[in-house]
């Protein structure tokens, strides 16, 4: 028990140190994150009540259903959730990468005061790569196998910068050097398959950062990599973020990765945000049963576990027929404590502690008691 408390505290300390280094406080000043509040003053990206629906023959797939969050420059927002929770759909919506005609998007996505929803496709295309860039899960399939790494970085750079190929190539070599690729001037002419997995992801990062974007979305950037390489890539993203002072959205299903990197964490379930707070808040007093489930199912490398990992029961819900009330109630061990409210009413997204939002019908006291007595001791 005491050991675990120490652990949490030291992680919180670490986080505080990191955000101190970053200067401004975290963007935890969101009012009425449920969709009503004005963007935080320092928000570079501000998403309000985003809904992304895909009409299909079987019904409307509500991949994202009322999502709001802010990211400030120099800050990292970690979006956590299992497959199908809407993480990647959210990032694709910000980038405007959904196939036109297949998707209904409503709400607001403001990138530095430019509204992206409803904007002309050509306008969004000009912003892509230049002001917002993305790195993907599998760097091998995400790079074109027939073009050299250099060619692909040069292409990305020259879309938005009217420079000659030789100038762009110098820039590409410079970028490869900055992401830690040895002998960048010769590796620039290599093909992606000649790179190792970690190098490829470094090259992807170099490509994404080649136009110095203000927003970087990293969609599961380490999932396809070895554990040792994962840490290097996370370090690289952190270093480059402080160098470029960009806003970063880190999408992952791995709480360990967000713990490493994020200032704020948003936990998503069934296309909605169920918990949103600073990273220390989420790790020291998580307020949502789903977050507890994620923490319980996360392996820890720093000490010997006394108990087995506990997976979250059941499977992610259908996004066509989302369960009534709280979408998590069929899988929630505490849903029977709310007098049927969980089954019938959607829980409000309420602020239980300053800057700490969550959507659960349990009272604050009930949650504190469950977390302190049932969950934390078993982690």
């Amino acid at each position: 028990m005491s050991q675990s408390t120490n652990e949490t505290t030291s992680r919180a300390d670490d986080r505080t140190r990191r955000s101190d280094k970053g200067g401004a406080t975290s963007a935890n000043t969101l009012d009425g994150i449920g969709g009503l509040g004005a963007p935080a003053a320092d928000a570079f990206l501000s998403v309000r009540d985003l809904r992304v629906h895909f009409p299909t023959d079987d019904g409307v797939v509500k991949s994202v259903d009322g999502l709001s969050f802010d990211v400030a420059r120099g800050k990292t927002l970690g979006i956590v959730g299992e497959s199908g929770s809407g993480k990647s759909v959210t990032s694709m919506s910000i980038m405007g990468l959904h196939k036109p005609g297949t998707v209904r998007m409503t709400g607001s996505i403001k990138l530095d005061d430019t509204e992206l929803i409803g904007a002309k496709a050509e306008r969004v295309r000009e912003l892509r790569g230049k002001r917002m860039a993305m790195i993907f899960q599998d760097p091998l399939s995400a790079m074109h196998p027939f073009y050299t790494v250099g060619h692909q970085i040069i292409e990305a750079y020259r879309i938005h910068n009217k420079v000659s190929t030789s100038v762009a190539k110098k820039h590409a070599i410079d970028m490869l050097g900055r992401v830690g690729i040895p002998q960048p001037s010769s590796r620039v002419d290599d093909y992606p398959h000649q790179f190792s997995g970690g190098m490829r992801q470094r090259a992807m990062i170099a490509m994404a950062l080649s136009c110095d974007p203000d927003l970087l979305i990293a969609d599961e950037p380490t999932t396809a990599l070895d554990v040792t390489v994962q840490a290097q890539i996370l370090d690289l993203i952190r270093d480059l973020q402080s160098e470029f002072n960009s806003a970063v959205i880190l999408i992952t299903h791995d709480l360990g990765v967000v713990a490493e990197l994020s200032d704020d964490i948003m936990v998503m379930y069934a296309g909605r945000s169920v918990e949103y707070a600073t990273a220390d808040e989420v790790f020291t007093r998580p307020q949502h049963p789903y977050t507890w489930g994620l923490l319980s199912s996360m392996p820890r490398l720093d000490r010997v576990r006394t108990e087995r990992l506990r997976p979250i029961k059941g499977a992610p819900p259908s996004l066509i027929n989302v369960p009534s009330g709280c979408p998590f109630h069929p899988r929630c061990a505490y849903a029977d404590r709310t007098n049927g409210l969980s089954q019938s009413e959607r829980p409000p997204f309420a602020e239980t502690h300053p800057g700490h939002y969550s959507a659960c019908h349990l009272t604050r006291e009930e949650r504190t008691a469950i977390w302190e007595n049932d969950i934390r001791p078993t982690l």
Partner: protein
Amino acid sequence: MLTYLIRRLFAAVLLLFIVSAVVFVIFFLVPRIGGATADDLASRYVGKSAGEAQIHAQAIKLGFTDPIWVQYGRFVKGVLTGSDYDTGAGIDHCPAPCLGYSYITQNPVLPDILDRLPVTGILAAGAAFLWLVGGVGTGVISALKRGSVLDRGFMGVALAGVSLPIFFTGLLSLTIFSYGLKWTYAGGASPMDATGPLDLVHRMLLPWITLAFLYAASYARLTRAGMLETMNEDYIRTARAKGLKEHDVVVRHGLRSALTPILTIFGLDLGLLLGGAVLTETTFSLQGIGYYAVQAITNNDLPKVLGVTLFGAVFVIFASLIVDLLYAVLDPRVRTS
């Protein structure tokens, strides 16, 4: 790379050798196994009133009385060093590579084939250009407009294209455009007599389109399938995420990948076609290699059939070699391994 090339060339020669042996066996050994005697074979190449002695003399002269391996050895020797042939009026020398003499016209086969190669070549080249542009173009549009009326229309026409045989589409187009509208020559217009490029197109347009239609149909289907697959690849999403214009995403990233397998098939198709476009040449009475082969088969002129078969095999084998080498240029992943 050089060792690879030498190995492939060696394999190509070996393959040609095997093809020639198989073809030889089919034409010269199988009838004998079936019970035909040397004289039976020779009886086709003498006049109607020939007596048994004349037939037997012809059998000896054509070498049918020798064991099959001697006959084959004589053929291979002719290919490698050339051979002499007694025409009756004197001894003709046929320089290497000699594919033998016609039993009927007594002409050497290879010069006959080479004479007809330009006609087949012009037919194949023009049609290849049309089907590559037309087939790949419609395939790309179909893939990008998947499910639209345009896509369904294109694929319907393509299905018709792969299903309808050339002697049907060819005759149909001749009926409409030559005999009906009198826009084009009514067949038999040799491209070799063309007075200029425009006249050449005038003479060849109908055969080109007819032949191209068949191939364009399957190329459109292949391109469509390939584009649908590559446009779903992660690297297409990356290209869009970079802010690349959609046109460049489709052409430089999508088509670049989808085209690689198409080009390999194109090489093989073209090689096969240079060995003779039998149906098209026959339908439009073009004196190409295919037409020559049909006549040779009708007349049972074995050396001509053997010659055309081997000639076609050479094109196919070398086309596949070139395609393999080209693949290494097109796909860098093949190059290093």
